[in-house]
Subunit: 338 residues, 4 copies
């Protein structure tokens, strides 16, 4: 049998359970040996379903176990940076859900700890592992479209999260657009130098009252000279709208939405097809499995993670720049942020 | 915790392992307690991977276990009828891969044993559980297209199976078209009264030497007056081509192929998209899970299986009729077969 | 200025006016010099709109004019064969709407007259000139799909014609399927050897009372070994459904419907697109222009017409064979017809 | 017979000939009575082909003719404003190709003359009459998507015009984006308040040397709160890329490209479809006819033109604002321009 990586899960909420299940059932090289959650019952339920032998409500009990080689951090965002530091100091390899933090100093301290410990750190930008987006990126990298000139990203949620979540989310650019900022870098492999953001409160006035916007449009200028545009909405009534487009000197690539079925009805009214897959759990199932597979493989094979610490930091800088741009109504260079 | 159904797998080949894995990992109401294969090593390997407690090379050792409530028969086709009889006599509920047999007398004996024992029998026509085909059938049943008038089924494999397999397969109509015969019945809920089959050896002359055809076109006449057409090829170089169409008095439904990704490249040559999902394991993954879920649910809830014994028998009659039609070059009523 | 061909139109009904307008406005090498219709007012109205100098209610007055080099026959079907004979004897080149006749003897006499006179005869199978179908045929001819194995043609009208028309139409196979029989030959360049037809009265019982069927499915066996299938309905509520498919050893081609617009609406109910172009006048506008352009060019350049006399005769044989097959419930070889 | 409008064409270049042909052949209510071009031979050639009775090389000879009721101005851009003034003073209704001018003072003087004379003025923003874009706008107006939130316009030419043309074109925002500025207003019926433009020279360095950019991305903020984005490239190797998207509170509309044919080839490499229609003459044929039909109808029926003088002025303001935004690297309110 091939060698298996012993993994502990920290955080047994929705995304933690998803990762735990994928690691337990769909990644033969992974062995989930422990799970921690401050809500012990959540950890226990997950452990029972997946035959995870060790359960705790204290992540420190996980980090001190010698059999644990790697941790998957799925706890609340405000704990990420600190847990990365602690795990790095304990010599564990780390997968951490995005974002690391909204505070660049905390991010930098966490990344320093990782570098110091020489452990691997992968950030959970799952969309890079979506087969369609990955295929687009691969075609760009293979030169199928020549030099990239324009990037367009549409990313719209089916419905806003609860207003209480919005209030602590860091706002649309750090909570939602952050995935698109990562995608913008990933697709063409060039860095963004400046952003210009506009936004509005068109979906729900309570989002505005919380100091956030619910509809946004961000212009990107890349170091390569390419231009980019991201549009976001917190509510697309037809479902989760996730499309990208890259246009270049010798071609263009469009990625359309995925649907639950391919049945098309024609009747006297028109031609009717299914709406897109409803939300991220359905849309990115394959991507969640693939990112975890990539993490396990990079540890076992001692290769650099496909989404490293700086890949976690830069989209936060972009998100902060977008907020500053929106407030000051001017384009913002990333160097103005840090 | 909800009650779980104790299941034994008989046959640890490719499809047996697929079902075992789905039952173990993706269907919480299932509990795989035993696995049997005449090749004991195959059963053991599967058991180890999925934590199945009991392993044997003798299916009888499974049928005598009191904890086994249901069996999933995935052994070679020539053993299906006999295993159904034995399992029914042992009082076990039965899921059996298609076809039951190519001999109607054996089928009838097996179905009689099932009826006698009062156990449930579900046949493995997995395509009924494909989300797209199911959506089409549901829309037909909801009256979205009114009265069905025409059914078109395209079903082409990416490449022929080994010639040795062809020789014992029962020929294209019983091996390949049988799925389409089932689909033809399923889609509109009317029975077929007669078939007319034409065929040719256009892919590989060795298939012709084996007494089979590799390209076929079958016309169906339904009891309702509707007409149907099925076309098959053993080799579609672009991949697994699985499309259906139902046309009726107030609308029509088309189901197109599913693809591994939605990335579309436009360049100076044209607009290029991905080929269909390569073969049945990729194309029908969701369907394999859903059919097993349906089986487990119908046993636990004491409902009739969604694909019963007669659903297993009739497509065999259709396949035999198609062969007779091809040989005699005339339309064949199913009543001429049995 | 390039030389122009002097043309007379015989028949100023719907299709006659269409051809006249195309010749007058969209084909610079054509010069419409005369128009005849037994309903003189119809001819006069068309002449006034298009500045056609000579108008008559007697086609003979057209055929005796020395300035007329070619005629476009758009009169009622029962006059076609006789007009072809007369025009050939007058030494005029001929474009004739399909079908030449339903009586093979009349067809043969007309074709003999054409051969005797050495004039050109083109039959109005306009669909060959549709850009999509032509592109499919060209790709087949270029070898893009290798050896053709399967042909599928779907051809459904938005609504049945008046029952009075049905009664004199020759029935579905000679009135409607005849276009598909031509398409079947055109697409792969192989002759059909036998047909098997089934049909039903599912749309309108009056069609059945008229001795016709309104829904049909025809199986074709080609000399090359390829197989074909045509399905027809007199009523597709979603519009004119005109699709073809050719499948071969190294690829397959599908032609989907054309739509009036490309606007796609996504809402809470689904994703909605336009229905196909409504009927043949919209769907085949480009094809009508292109076939007339081809006729004018073949006369001016002294090349054989792209759709010759035998191309007009063979689909009639196929239609007669289909009727005989339907009635006798057996496959019919074309050699049994004549 | 219905009353016909007597029209004179001024300018017999490419677009002038297109309009003349449509008026002569496809719009029965139009009567082309005169054509003028400073290159008399061009006017004469067009007149001969279309049977236009009066030809001149002096537009004044057209404006003094009492039989001329309306003029269609297709001369070079620098003459538009002056010709509008002269035609208005002569009491002629006016269709004028876009743009009126790049100088707002000249535009305002022309519009004043039109208002003074009480004649009708329609500007040639043909894309509004494209069936797909019109369908999108109509669905927006019907409330199918609720309140519009986001507008996306992609507009890319297959290849740059000659560099000599670029030099006098007013630059990308006044030459190319101007159509998209009009579309942005048209689609949702709300005015744009500010624009932010970024651009680059990625296609051809000579375009940069001419002081222009060849790739651009413009952000729009509407009075309604909606946001918009336009992207342009002077060279899309796969052809003329003309897509729009409007997203709103209860739905979204996407308009995809139109293609010359619907034949789709599947082979071992992938699935291949046709590129978009090559350029504006193919893509917007129906739109050119429809805009001219609309002009003729609005004059004959004494209704306001569908694209009036302010519709010609505002996109010029937007283009000037985009240039200023690009140069000053900040968002620009239209009120800063005039």
């Amino acid at each position: 049998m091939t060698r298996r990586l012993n993994i502990a899960i920290i955080g047994a909420g929705r995304i933690g359970r998803v990762h735990a299940e994928h690691l337990a059932h769909r990644i033969p090289e992974a062995n989930v040996v422990a799970i921690a959650d401050v809500v012990r019952a959540a950890a226990e339920e997950c452990a029972a379903a997946l035959h995870i032998p060790f359960v705790t409500d204290d992540h420190r009990a996980v980090l001190t176990r010698p059999d644990v080689e790697a941790v998957v951090i799925c706890s609340s965002t405000d704990t990420h940076a600190q847990l990365i530091e602690a795990a790095a100091e304990a010599g564990k390899h780390i997968f951490c859900e995005k974002p690391i933090d909204y505070d660049l100093r905390k991010i930098d301290r966490a990344l320093a700890a990782v570098a110091q410990a020489g452990v691997k750190l992968q950030i959970g930008f799952n969309r890079r592992f979506d087969p369609s987006f990955k295929r687009a990126r691969d075609m760009v990298a293979e030169g199928k479209i020549g030099e990239p000139h324009l990037v367009r990203i549409t990313s719209r949620d089916p419905a806003p999260p609860p207003i209480e979540y919005i209030k602590v989310s860091g706002g649309i650019f750090l909570d939602m657009t952050i995935h698109d900022f990562d995608m913008a870098r990933y697709l063409i492999g060039s860095e963004v130098e400046s952003v210009y953001a506009v936004g509005g409160v068109l979906v729900d006035p309570r989002i505005g009252e919380a100091g956030d916007v619910d509809t946004a449009l961000v212009t990107l200028q890349y170091a390569s000279g390419a231009l980019g545009s991201i549009d976001n909405s917190r509510r697309a009534v037809y479902g989760y709208d996730q499309r990208i487009e890259v246009f270049g000197s010798v071609g263009g690539i469009v990625v359309t939405n995925r649907t639950p079925d391919n049945a098309i009805l024609s009747d006297a009214e028109g031609v009717h097809a299914a709406r897109p897959l409803h939300f991220f759990m359905e849309r990115y199932t394959e991507a969640f499995v693939a990112e975890m597979q990539a993490f396990v493989s990079c540890v076992l094979d001692d290769r650099p993670p496909p989404v490293g610490g700086m890949d976690g930091r830069i989209p936060v800088v972009m998100g902060l720049a977008a907020w500053k741009s929106l407030r000051e109504q001017r384009p913002m260079r990333l160097t103005e942020i840090g």
